[in-house]
């Protein structure tokens, strides 16, 4: 909280109730200028409510939030000039063509007819929609709609962009397209607040993470720090001879490498699970097992699911100052 002069978004004690439901129950967070903050949480955690409060669609019950220095409650008009919003549901007019959507938004942002036209063409080109420019958005594929939505958010060159679950419901290829676009916008200096249910997405796009659950922040920090807490990726190893798994685990523990010490054999699956924190550790583990002459039949990695993240975080809370979760697992 000492770097407030470079925060594009500052949220303090934000509360929003819907009747009995506390959608936001005192949320604090910062998004540093020019960075991506991932807000990770399950359905109903309050992610969308947070975005709606920060984009002036909802008035908070208490607490404060400023975006680019403007207060969401007292300076909504100025604030709206600095933000772009791409929601979970494409916020474009489906009956209008891609061009007409972007042109309309340009005009609403006070561009001249000529500038609105050229800005629309420029963004259609950039988001690879030039060929579909004249077609109604309702004929677009899911990925094209998201791209049009992103383009629409970029017309006003916002300083802060909210992406509310930008890839929910997209297939993996389309998801990668959206990620590429987001990374490109970030490289141009846009500050992004991204909500997501996927650890993988947060890891790909975010510099820092805030994990929320039932309207409260339960963890925050740099992605790497959180990964260390949660345990990063997990290696799943199958041996040529399943009887070797026990001695493989023992050999890895002897190395004393961080994380790797948490290696566990799951007999039902005839597999060895090895938590790793870095690519170097991955190489070291494979190298070591090879050097010792163990036969590896299969190797794969997986990221922790949201469930595992939550388990790790809440598990860590219950043991307070005590050690990292991987040691608990060992």
């Amino acid at each position: 909280m000492t770097r407030s002069h470079t925060n594009a978004v500052e949220v303090r004690g934000l509360v929003k109730h819907f009747g009995e439901t506390k959608a936001l129950d005192g949320v604090d967070l910062d998004v540093r200028e020019g960075t991506v903050l991932g807000v990770l949480g399950p359905n109903g955690a309050g992610k969308t409510t947070l975005v709606r409060c920060l984009s002036t669609l909802l008035a908070p019950d208490s607490g404060t939030a400023t975006v680019a220095g403007y207060d969401v409650v007292r300076q909504p008009r100025q604030l709206r000039r600095t933000i772009g919003l791409t929601g979970q549901y494409a916020s474009v007019d489906e009956k209008l063509s891609g061009f007409e959507n972007l042109y309309m938004i340009g005009r609403l942002l006070d561009l001249s007819r000529k500038d609105a036209r050229s800005r629309a063409d420029e963004l259609l080109e950039r988001f690879s929609l030039t060929e579909a420019a004249k077609r109604a958005a309702m004929t677009y594929s899911g990925g094209m709609r998201r791209r049009l939505d992103l383009a629409a958010s970029m017309i006003g060159k916002p300083a802060v962009l909210y992406l509310d679950e930008p890839t929910t419901g997209l297939d993996p290829r389309t998801r990668n397209e959206v990620w590429d676009e987001v990374q490109r916008m970030v490289s141009e200096g846009v500050t992004v607040l991204l909500t997501t249910q996927y650890m993988e997405e947060a890891e790909q796009l975010a510099n820092e993470l805030t994990v929320i659950d039932r309207g409260r922040v339960i963890a925050n920090g740099k992605v790497d720090e959180l990964k260390a807490k949660v345990g990063g990726r997990t290696l799943k190893i199958r041996a040529v001879d399943p009887a070797d798994l026990g001695s493989m685990a023992a050999a890895l523990r002897e190395t004393g490498l961080d994380g790797v010490a948490g290696s566990t054999v799951v007999p039902d699956e005839e597999a060895l699970y090895v938590p790793i924190l870095t690519d170097q550790q991955l190489t070291a583990v494979v190298g070591l097992l090879g050097a010792r002459g163990f036969g590896i039949a299969h190797i794969g990695t997986h990221l922790p699911s949201l469930d595992e993240v939550f388990l790790a975080i809440t598990g860590q809370k219950s043991t307070v100052s005590d050690a990292l979760p991987e040691e608990v697992a060992a």
């Binding site: 002069h5 925060n7 594009a8 303090r12 004690g13 200028e33 709606r52 984009s55 669609l57 008035a59 908070p60 019950d61 208490s62 607490g63 404060t64 400023t66 680019a68 220095g69 403007y70 207060d71 409650v73 007292r74 300076q75 008009r77 100025q78 709206r80 000039r81 600095t82 933000i83 919003l85 929601g87 549901y89 916020s91 474009v92 007019d93 489906e94 009956k95 209008l96 007409e100 309309m104 938004i105 005009r107 609403l108 942002l109 006070d110 561009l111 800005r119 109604a136 629409a152 970029m154 006003g156 060159k157 916002p158 300083a159 802060v160 916008m185 141009e188 200096g189 846009v190 500050t191």
Partner: protein
């Protein structure tokens, strides 16, 4: 609005560097208020959107194009003989057409409520409401386009009327005044239906509610039959029914006869309805979550 704000950075200058290229945000005076010219430009851009939607979905013009034809044929040939006497259908055209003008306005206005309700289910409304535009401009743009539709419906109604023997016994100017009056009144009704559309949960509910209010107003009026043929209590009701006032005013302007009272009554109603419902609708729109 929050009552417990504690921020200490009111006067802080905005941070954030917009991306490369010309920043489109134009300086506006005061607290980021939107100037009149900008407001008109926004309404224009949004009205264009509504017009383009019609182009994409031409069936949505059926009510404006076909309804006037169906209604005038129905009333002149099915009920006309019974109301005005067999063989007097021609005379009835002159009676019922000004009344139908009033009814068209009402029916188109009803559609606005349904449309707004539908519109709100789509993400694009969220985009509009997070943009630096006056929130009322979204609603006003809708009204502008619907007034256009109302005028098309009126033109088709009059065209069909002329084919069936309608005669304007006054002047062209008075005919224009009659059209203008029904459009003004129709536009004021749109605010009521926008309010309904923003309040009710589903488009079906809006339609149901609208029918409930519209049926007695439409038929308990001087649109289709002279109220002198009705029982006393109903005659009194029709006297205060704004649709009667409008129908009488349009009839007077097109057929000749006294108009001052009914014209003023209609304008009074239109003004009163707008003054009460427009701010409510805009405020509802603003607070809609």
């Amino acid at each position: 609005m929050s009552a417990t704000t504690t921020t200490t950075q009111l006067s802080k200058s905005p941070v954030g560097t917009p991306g490369p290229g010309p920043a489109p945000a134009r300086k506006t005076s005061g607290e980021g208020r939107i100037g009149l010219r900008a407001n008109l430009r926004h309404i224009g851009a949004l009205a264009r959107r509504n017009a383009l939607q019609i182009k994409q979905d031409p069936e949505s013009m059926f009510d404006a194009v076909l309804m006037p034809i169906i209604f005038i044929l129905l009333f002149v040939y099915v009920f006309g003989g019974a109301i005005a006497g067999k063989g007097n259908n021609d005379a009835y055209v002159n009676y019922v057409t000004p009344g139908l003008m009033a009814m068209m306005g009402m029916n188109i206005a009803m559609g606005v409520g349904v449309g707004i309700n539908d519109d709100f289910k789509k993400g694009v409304m969220d985009r509009f409401r997070t943009m630096p535009i006056a929130r009322s401009s979204v609603l006003i743009a809708k009204i502008v386009v619907e007034v256009g539709r109302m005028m098309i419906a009126t033109a088709i109604l009059l065209g069909t009327g002329f084919l069936l023997g309608l005669e304007i016994k006054t002047s062209f100017v008075e005919l224009l005044a009659a059209i203008g009056l029904s459009v003004v009144f129709g536009a004021s009704l749109m605010w009521i239906f926008i309010l309904l559309g923003l309040t009710m949960k589903t488009a079906q509910a809006v339609q149901g509610m609208a029918m409930l209010v519209l049926m007695p107003l439409q038929f308990g009026s001087s649109i289709f039959a002279p109220p002198t043929s009705m029982p006393g209590w109903l005659e009194t009701f029709t006297d205060y029914n704004p649709l009667s006032n409008l129908a009488d005013a349009a009839r007077g302007l097109m057929n000749g006869g006294p108009v001052a009272h009914s014209v003023w009554m209609t304008l009074g109603w239109a003004l009163a309805i707008t003054v009460v419902t427009a701010p409510l609708a805009v405020s509802k729109f603003r607070k809609k979550t």
